[in-house]
């Protein structure tokens, strides 16, 4: 389980001052059996620090709500340029494209090598057309 942004230290007495004073209703608690559990809802939290101000025990480690952390969201297979190996796009991307343009993603090429590739393809096509042109002497 990912570590919560809202953390308290060992001084927390479960007095619920933070729960009662949270303007965003981002804190709650659950009493089950012989255990009181403090709950935090990051989607509701306005990070206004009212909890930190009102805590009589100085138990709220608010710095965790200010931490500049990147959470990993999703991992997807990545395709790299067939020529230079630079990242191009994910393997999922072509599936989302219309059939008419999907073939342009084959082979996977970065912008630089795609331009060269298509230039060569066009040149070859043009050369082929020249060769087959009726009356051509080449």
């Amino acid at each position: 389980m990912m570590e919560s942004f809202f953390q308290v230290n060992e001084r927390c007495t479960g007095c619920l001052a933070c729960v009662q004073n949270c303007p965003a209703r981002a804190l709650d608690y659950r009493d089950e059996g012989d255990t009181r559990t403090l709950l935090h809802n990051m989607a509701r939290c306005a990070r206004c620090a009212t909890c930190w101000r009102v805590c009589p025990e100085d138990a709220i480690e608010f710095q965790h709500l200010l931490v500049n952390r990147w959470d990993e969201v999703v991992r997807l297979p990545l395709l790299r340029c067939a020529v230079c190996g630079d990242p191009v796009h994910t393997a999922r991307l072509p599936e989302a494209l219309d059939e008419s343009v999907r073939e342009l993603t084959e082979p996977p090429l970065c912008d630089r090598h795609r331009a060269r590739h298509h230039g060569r393809t066009q040149a070859l096509a043009l050369a082929g057309a020249t060769k087959t042109r009726p009356g051509s002497t080449s």
Binding site: P23, A24, R44
Partner: protein, 223 residues
């Protein structure tokens, strides 16, 4: 943040008279933090308005919801679902939020439960004070981070005036003179020469004389 005040209960009750089912809509932004229009206040308001003493006839049905920000069209369009049979929205957002909710759900009537008061900050827990009037031409760089437009009763650009007495304002002696504060802080910063810098009359069109103001940022294309 934008600070607002809940309107008097009589005024709110009068403005919702005749509606049968209202969505009481809290805003999760500024007005949550200044404790005027968040989820807690929306529930408190609905609880109070449910009382028959506020209504000539039967009290309306009140459903409470809160959305992260009411000031964004697409967020509302995508994520705010109106309860079936809603015939008006009672919004606890600032004036911007109320108007955007009204645009998104037109022609549904949208009624403000707050009066938007100012752009301010919390100087101490539970005390919000005006800091900025959104004049569109910030001069805080030369006034030691103290705004004379918002904090001087005369909005003087070249203060203090003769009414500044012992660091107090003649308009309200309980109020510190903004220009006395600017002077003292510039002195502490070793930048007192800025007090002698003449600030010419401003182009007040930037302050909203040509309303409504708009800002466009490039590079934010519609998806």
């Amino acid at each position: 943040m934008i600070v607002g005040d809940l309107k008097p209960m009589d005024e709110i009750a009068a403005s919702i008279a005749g509606f049968e089912k209202l969505l009481v809509l809290g805003c999760g932004g500024c007005v949550t933090v200044c404790r005027a229009g968040g989820d807690a206040e929306a529930h408190d308001l609905a609880r109070e308005l449910a009382h028959p003493r506020h209504h000539a006839g039967r009290p309306p049905e009140l459903v409470v919801q809160t959305i992260e920000r009411q000031c964004e069209h697409d967020l509302l369009e995508k994520y705010l679902e109106l309860p079936e049979g809603t015939d008006a929205i009672l919004s606890l957002a600032c004036g911007a939020g109320v108007q955007i909710v009204a645009d998104v759900f037109e022609p549904l009537p949208v009624i403000p439960a707050l009066s938007t008061t100012f752009i301010g900050g919390a100087d101490e827990p539970g005390v919000w004070r005006e800091k900025c009037q959104g004049c569109g031409d910030c001069l805080l760089a030369t006034t030691a981070g103290i705004c004379p437009i918002a904090l001087c009763a005369k909005r003087l650009l070249n203060g203090p005036c003769g009414g500044s007495q012992d660091g107090r304002c003649e308009v309200n002696p309980d109020t510190p003179c903004a220009w006395a504060r600017i002077h003292d802080r510039l002195e502490a910063q070793g930048r007192l020469e800025l007090m002698d810098e003449f600030r010419p009359p401003r182009d007040w069109r930037k302050a909203g004389a040509r309303v409504p103001r708009e800002r466009r940022r490039t590079g934010i294309e519609l998806r």
